[in-house]
């Protein structure tokens, strides 16, 4: 067949429905290629980049905990205290800029939702503990970030 003849016969090679579906399939394939190529992270578009960031030997793993007190003794707070999943909770405690603010927001929200005054948290902090890798000594010190919640004005809970 010559080129024009081939082009003329192409539409008859599939049914109209198959051409339409093929258009959808092609668009889907292009979307997947674009997602991977662009590094997009815009749910539900995603390049599925979890655990992709390199962590060479010199980077020390850190573990964050949120501890609070109601006046007598410190205790651990977990995601369930805030109706958050473990990942949602840990994400807020990552030792990145803004940690103190995020922690204050957590505790303030907890106090705001707590109806019993004696259950409210008076003081809180995030402790960041380095976990040395096996066989690699570390001189990264542990630290803590204070995040004392703002005191609520009197009568604020009755609004």
């Amino acid at each position: 067949l010559t080129a024009p003849e081939t082009l003329a016969t192409l539409p008859r090679a599939m049914t109209t429905r198959e051409w339409r579906l093929s258009g959808l399939f092609a668009a889907f394939l292009l979307l997947k290629v674009a997602e991977a190529g662009s590094g997009i992270e815009l749910w539900p578009l995603s390049n599925v980049s979890m655990f992709s960031q390199p962590r060479p030997a010199e980077i020390v793993p850190l573990r964050s905990r949120l501890v609070g007190t109601r006046g007598s003794g410190w205790f651990d707070l977990s995601g369930s205290d805030f109706r958050l999943s473990r990942d949602e909770f840990i994400n807020r405690l990552r030792p990145t800029p803004g940690l103190a603010r995020r922690c204050r927001e957590l505790v303030a929200a907890f106090n705001h939702q707590t109806k019993l005054p004696w259950m409210r948290i008076r003081d809180a902090m995030v402790t960041i503990e380095p976990i040395p890798r096996p066989g690699i000594a570390t001189d990264v010190p542990g630290r803590s970030v204070a995040c004392t919640p703002p005191s609520e004005p009197a009568g604020a809970r009755d609004e």
Partner: protein
């Protein structure tokens, strides 16, 4: 025939091959059961119960003008979603039900992603709903097929059953496999783009294992050579997945590898992603499995000495 014709013929041969409509219908039922299980236990109620301070609208939610839902809204959305999925399960208004289930599930997942952590685990599930919504998955094993038969009989037509195979019964599985392959490939490609082959030096996996703090993960973190081996295996699996898009015979092998990978992330890191690997069940060739089982049963009955 020119190259164009050959390409179109190959394309058609790949996507539009005859496959069992029963397999497609059973896959629809499995998908619905999985969805009902996923959404059980008030999974979405948290979106209404968390303090407003924890609401972090993702771009899609902002674009749709979604605000934190009330408990009542979530309750009714979840109820409507369940009703749509049950309709999918029994095959009543199958395609319409699938579209409704897709929209509601998409909306509920959007809400769930506004709590400060975006999850990728249910993205392939949404695509599965989409692919089934445009497929003839309600033509067999469904209320729709029974109603159609009765309607045909009422009109005085012959009681012709729906054909058992269709050229539209295979591509939903192929599209779903493409989605899964892309999901894994993107994960592997993101690792390569961020760190190159150094990602597999063992230290990166060791870091994440220690950070997660699971006992099995901490044990694994003590063996750097194992971390290196497993990291390399993960990269090979993730980057190799697209091979099985064209090489269909390799799919069981890659799905087995994927299952082992997810079992590893569950055991060592408490990362489940079960809505992804639960989709593997959809690829079971049910009609072939049933034929093999009935053949074996018949042979056992007719075998000499069988009581």
């Amino acid at each position: 025939v020119g190259n164009g014709g050959r390409i179109v013929a190959a394309w058609r041969g790949y996507w539009f091959r005859e496959r069992s409509l029963v397999d497609l219908a059973v896959a629809r039922i499995v998908l619905a059961v999985g969805l009902l299980y996923l959404n059980s236990g008030g999974r979405f109620l948290r979106t209404a119960r968390v303090a407003p301070e924890h609401w972090v609208a993702i771009p899609l939610a902002r674009a749709l003008g979604l605000e934190q839902p009330s408990l009542e809204q979530i309750f009714w959305l979840a109820r409507a979603s369940r009703a749509a999925v049950v309709a999918v399960l029994v095959g009543a208004f199958t395609n319409l039900s699938l579209w409704i289930a897709l929209l509601l599930q998409g909306l509920l997942e959007t809400y769930l992603n506004c709590l400060g952590k975006v999850t990728h685990g249910t993205i392939p599930l949404l695509y599965a709903l989409l692919f089934f919504a445009i497929s003839p998955c309600g033509r067999r094993v469904s209320v729709d097929s029974i109603v159609r038969r009765f309607a045909t009989r009422a009109r005085g037509g012959t009681d012709a059953r729906t054909p058992s195979t269709s050229r539209d019964a295979g591509w939903p599985f192929d599209l779903l496999f493409v989605e899964l392959a892309a999901f894994y490939f993107q994960a592997g490609y993101a690792k390569l783009a961020a760190a190159g082959l150094h990602w597999a030096d063992g230290y990166t996996l060791q870091y994440y294992l220690i950070e997660k703090g699971r006992p099995a993960g901490l044990w694994l973190a003590e063996h750097l050579w194992l971390c290196q081996t497993l990291s390399a295996a993960v990269l090979a699996l993730e980057l190799g997945f697209p091979i099985a898009i064209l090489a269909r015979r390799l799919r069981p092998l890659f799905l087995l590898g994927g299952l082992l990978f997810h079992l590893g992330t569950i055991g060592f890191m408490s990362v489940s992603f079960w809505p992804v690997w639960a989709l593997y069940v959809l690829f079971v060739p049910w009609s072939r499995a049933a034929a093999i089982l009935s053949h074996r049963a018949r042979r056992a009955v007719t075998a000499p000495g069988a009581s």
